[in-house]
Amino acid sequence: MSESPAPVVYVVDDDAAIRQTLCSLLRSVGLRMEGFASTGDFLRQADMSLPSCLVLDVRLPDIGGLEFQRHLVASDNPIPLIFITGHGDIPMSVRAIKAGAVEFLTKPFRDQDLLDAIQHAIARDTARRQKEQRVTCLRARYETLSPRERQVMALLLSGQPNRQIGQAIGASESTVKAHRVQVMRKMQAGSLVELVRMADDLELADLAQ
């Protein structure tokens, strides 16, 4: 995590005292926090490019926390959520967790519980960002392959030896070998196994698009 930018914890709670005290608590464990009084402020001012998580009060002045969660899911915003509430009930927490929230805490909560949830949420967000970054990088590498090289790569991935690949694309074994070297070099893959793993990531990303 050291090479990625410092994570930030966003807090949306209309109570200034809660924001203030949470800020000090998070600072005491070396976490940066930004507080907002409403979800509107959060959407306008929060920097979504940083690894982050959102601590959200269920009872908010403009729209409820659960409603906002639905809004985030609908707009493909993957920021991990931690709910805090003054009067939570079980159906409410079940709904929140089912919709993907990391944790649902009832005020007053133990500081360690919140910190654990935040660590977990940030780790999840960081992992997601790293994977996203890796996929973009792989896609950029894949873009540099010529159509012929992509064809050879597809046949390589299906586990065929050079001779058969040559027969399939109507080229000699030595030409296939040359293409193969190019694919491995451009994709920066050290072994066939590594290439397979890269293709896996790429295919997942392709499906997602």
Binding site: A17, L22, V29, Q112
Partner: protein, 404 residues
């Protein structure tokens, strides 16, 4: 004789004795036994007329009268029908000849004219009897039809009334359910609001304390930050205390709007509003209300709340009891009005005072505020609310000052 549409329970227009009614009904039937009765009755009438006329003749009051025969023919034709009427005419003719031919003995001409006269007279009587019978039967049939119509209308009306009663009951139940739901929602809302208002500063305090400990544990300890957090803890606990005192003020400051009130009526009103619950839990209510209870100055809503609370507690206390009896008594003493509410729910353990402590509850979902609030309302009215052990359960005793 067409007797369709004539039901046995249809009332007769004329109140005839039972045997006569039976006779008429039999007369209209066409059975061997019925014929026998009808003709027998005609014969009996004529014989009766004959013997009576003979008796009159013995009394030497002049010429023997014919009116008894006339009457016998009319009755036979009326109740018996055409056949018995004709028989009666013939028999009467013989009877008449027996009495009258004696006077005109030996003169065939006179006998002939007497026979013709008597025949004429008796036939007229028989016709009159028949007419009467027809008229009566028609009237009866018309009346029967009318009665049937009335019966139908009556049945329809009864069905409608039953239907309306069912609808009304359903409506009442729905209304009671709604009122209950509204009561529960209002209490739930209030509880949620208070919980939120109190939990907010509590969460801030908890955060501050946690952060404070961490800053102190740091190497080197950040005393400045810790001191700031400590001051926030003080600030937020004051804020929590302010919420509590605001709630207390809310309860206290709703100054009772006092107006002259009849307590008996309020008790009735509250019991009415609980009718559904009482019925559902099969609670019998025994009222012993002093009709001469003086009116007192009190807040209607607050007193309703007190009674509602005590009654609901009683109903819930009796949920497991075999006998469920709620007794409400009111009485006026020299300086105060006494209201006692006793249930048969087995009562409470320990001191009655405990029941009035805030947050004391025997129910898992209860807040334990009901009786505490009731007592404070009683005290605001210058009265008292206590609990003692009754015969089979708890007895709540509310006193309110006269003219208070």
């Amino acid at each position: 004789m067409n007797m369709s549409g004539y039901s046995p329970q249809t009332p007769f227009p004329l109140r005839l004795p039972g045997w006569m009614r039976k006779l008429i009904e039999d007369g209209h039937k066409s059975g061997g036994m019925a014929h026998f009765i009808r003709y027998g009755f005609a014969l009996f009438c004529i014989l009766a007329a004959l013997f009576l006329t003979m008796a009159l003749q013995q009394m030497e009051i002049g010429r023997p009268p014919l009116f008894l025969f006339n009457a016998a023919i009319v009755i036979s034709a009326w109740f018996g029908g055409a056949g018995p009427g004709a028989i009666a005419v013939l028999l009467s003719l013989l009877g008449g000849l027996y009495f009258y031919t004696g006077e005109f003995d030996g003169s065939g001409y006179q006998v002939n004219s007497v026979v013709i006269l008597l025949l004429l007279l008796f036939t007229l009587c028989a016709l009159a009897g028949r007419m009467l019978g027809f008229w009566r039967r028609n009237a009866e049939q018309a009346l029967g039809a009318k009665a049937q119509q009335l019966q139908q209308a009556y049945d329809a009306l009864r069905a409608e009334i039953a239907e309306r009663r069912r609808t009304e009951q359903a409506l009442q139940e729905a209304r009671a359910e709604l009122a209950r739901a509204a009561r529960l929602t209002a209490m739930g809302e209030l509880a949620a609001t208070i919980a939120h208002e109190v939990n907010q500063p509590l969460a801030a305090i908890s955060n501050s304390a946690g952060a404070c400990a961490r800053w102190l544990d740091a190497d080197p300890p950040n005393l400045k930050e810790a001191r700031m957090l400590a001051s926030w803890i003080v600030r937020d606990s004051e804020r929590a205390a302010a919420v509590i005192s605001r709630v207390r003020a809310m309860v206290r400051n709703t100054m009772p709007e006092k107006a002259p009130l009849g307590l008996n009526r309020i008790i009735h009103e509250v019991l009415d509003s609980l009718e559904y619950d009482l019925r559902k839990h099969r609670v019998a209510v025994a009222l012993s209300l002093d009709p001469a209870l003086p009116r007192i100055m009190a807040d209607r809503l607050q007193l309703q709340q007190v009674f509602l609370n005590i009654f609901m507690n009683a109903v819930e206390a009796m949920a497991q009891a075999e006998e469920r009896r709620l007794m409400v008594r009111t009485a006026a003493t020299a300086g105060a009005i006494l209201i006692e509410v006793e249930d048969s729910g087995g009562g409470f353990e320990g001191a009655g005072e405990k029941l009035f402590q805030p947050f004391y509850t025997t129910r898992p979902s209860g807040m334990g505020l009901g009786l505490a609030i009731c007592r404070s309302i009683a005290e605001h009215h210058g009265g008292t609310l206590t609990a003692v052990r009754g015969v089979r359960g708890a007895c709540f005793r509310l006193t309110l000052p006269r003219g208070g």
